[in-house]
Amino acid sequence: MRGIYIVGNYPDRESFVKCFDAVISAGYEFVEIGVPFSEPVADGPVIASAVQEALGSGVKAGDVLAGLKTLSKGKAKLYVMTYANIIYNYGIKKFSDDFKDVLSGLIIPDVPNMLHSYFYDQGFEIPLIPFVTPESREEDIKKAAVMQGDFIYFIGIRGITGGSVDLSSPEISERIQQIKAFTDKKIVMGFGIKDKTDADKALKVADGFVVGTAAVKLQKNSAEYSEFVKSLL
């Protein structure tokens, strides 16, 4: 499962759609669309700046969400990555009703696995993607292994997006083997993958990867962006 994270409607709707189309035509299996939130506490400087710039230039979370239904996603799966308040503000049940036919899942970095029930108990039907991190204990991994969501999001680094990851570290491959022992779900590595070399290394240990920061850096230039996303495959 190879995927790209894109900041929704950044720098503007037209440029965003060009980048989105580039990802789809390159053949990625999924796209993760970031819906801007003013307090992106899990994001590093590149994505946080892009989000702030988008909001500053008038991008609305509601417009990004409304636009999801018009994207030509082909065979790719669509996920939304955003913060809890965006969903809460939209209305938890209403969000689910409006987007359950569009989205394969939702990635919310400030909702830990234990609080997925907070959403499901309110009628949320879109799968929330569980996380496993270097801090996850065995009991956390066992719980994540049986949660909803068609993959486990493995965060390879301690920290925020844009950090660097040592993909050759035995700790990472051991941790992924540990997860695999408890689940048949795909394991997708996020955080810290910036080029083809990293992507290839990620695929040796995991079932997929998602590239965020390195792609967002190029999001203002759709031609360069298109070349970059092709280069990772």
Partner: protein, 380 residues
């Protein structure tokens, strides 16, 4: 659900932080009733902070306004505010957990100074995050933090105030959670912080209640300013089971217009920020709105989840005071009683002065949560 006050609260944080928060919850629940920990905390409270702080009858103000005004003197604490109650307790917890580094966010700088102080006291490495705008308006506290040996990280993101400092501190904690404890300074953030900070600040209410018991009566009303709300929860805890009216005063700023105030309850609605469901000042689109207060410590878009809950139950009345009224109260207390209050606490004083007819002839306890040395150099 665990960590909720009715519909408010929770632990809305990156998964990376969950083990650290669960460890903190375990340690807190174990240590808060542990005789050794309590003895340690009590010793530092008396010999280092200077507790108990007295309740002072403000006779000249009382005579002028026709209200019996009593002040709980948290301004007399070491470092000049109630913040030290919580930081010293959390620093002790940090030592018990075996961590060597603490981080904090600060708005007015009082929590930053209190954290830097306990770091020096216990030999802990300390980094304090502060918005660049706040740092410019609270220079004395910036200087004190540096003097105490803390590393000060100025935050230039967003509105360059407390919420941005909080974001930066959260990012640091995610990266360094193994050896670092984040001392949150108010009754906000993910579980167990709102409950834990309230517990450590409840000493204010317990002492005030004891002082009134000695006087042979209870106050008719208790008033405290509310940003995150730690001083308010601290004093309310002593009176929740009485018939005393309780008032939490939010920063009304310049006007009711968006960007001019910091009234999370007065003008906000429920949302999720910095770890919990609570009232938030936000845009229609769910973005956290810019807020303003003349008091850096109140300049925060949210409020502690327990306050959101108490608002819902009606046990506490939440109201507002404008900047100009807080400044009037700041000067009034200085000139009539010889006490320079923090501009944050001045909001609580101002509420009583503005509503003297409502409180006429009644006994009102105001939590004087901090002293105004930091504000007296400003042009207010």
């Amino acid at each position: 659900m665990k960590g909720f006050f009715g519909d408010f609260g929770g632990m809305f944080v990156p998964e990376t932080l969950v083990p650290a928060l669960e460890q903190l919850e375990r340690e807190f629940n174990m240590l808060k009733d542990d005789p050794e920990f309590k003895k340690d905390l009590a010793r530092y409270s008396t010999t280092y902070i200077g507790r108990p702080s007295p309740v002072y009858y403000a006779s000249r103000m009382s005579e002028e306004y026709g209200v019996e005004i009593y002040l709980k003197r948290e301004d007399l604490n070491h470092t000049g505010s109630h913040k030290i109650n919580n930081t010293i307790a959390q620093a002790l917890l940090t030592r018990y957990m075996g961590k060597k580094r603490i981080i904090a966010e600060t708005g007015a700088g009082q929590h930053g100074v209190a954290t830097a102080t306990v770091a020096a006291l216990f030999g802990l490495d300390c980094t304090v995050y502060m918005g660049a705008v706040d740092a410019a308006r609270q220079k004395p506290n910036v200087d004190r933090m540096k003097l105490l040996g803390a590393k000060l990280e100025l935050v230039h993101d967003g509105s360059k105030t407390l919420k941005d400092a909080t974001n930066a501190a959260m990012r640091d904690w995610v990266k360094n959670v193994e050896d670092t404890h984040y001392i949150i300074g108010s009754v906000i953030g993910p579980h167990p912080f709102p409950e834990m900070v309230a517990h450590f600040q409840s000493v204010i209410g317990r002492e005030a209640r004891a002082s009134f018991k000695e006087m042979g009566f209870l106050p008719d009303a208790v008033v405290a300013c509310v940003g995150g709300g730690s001083n308010a929860i601290g004093i309310f805890k002593g009176f929740l089971d009485t018939s005393c009216e309780l008032y939490g005063i939010e920063a009304g700023g310049l006007s009711d217009n968006e960007g001019d105030h910091a009234m999370a309850i007065g003008k906000g609605r429920a949302g999720i920020l910095h770890g919990c469901v609570t009232y938030l000042v936000q845009t229609a689109d769910g973005q956290v709105a810019d807020v303003h207060s003349i008091a850096a410590g109140l300049d925060y878009p949210g409020i502690g989840p327990e306050h959101s809950y108490l608002h819902g139950t009606g046990r506490v009345t939440y109201d507002k005071v404008r900047d100009e009224d807080a400044v009037f109260a700041f000067r009034e207390l200085a000139r009539r009683e010889g006490i320079v209050p923090a501009v944050e606490s001045s909001h609580a004083i101002a509420y009583v002065l503005k509503n003297k007819d409502k409180f006429k002839g009644r006994k009102v306890l105001i939590n004087l949560s901090g002293r105004g040395d930091k504000d007296s150099e400003r042009d207010i």
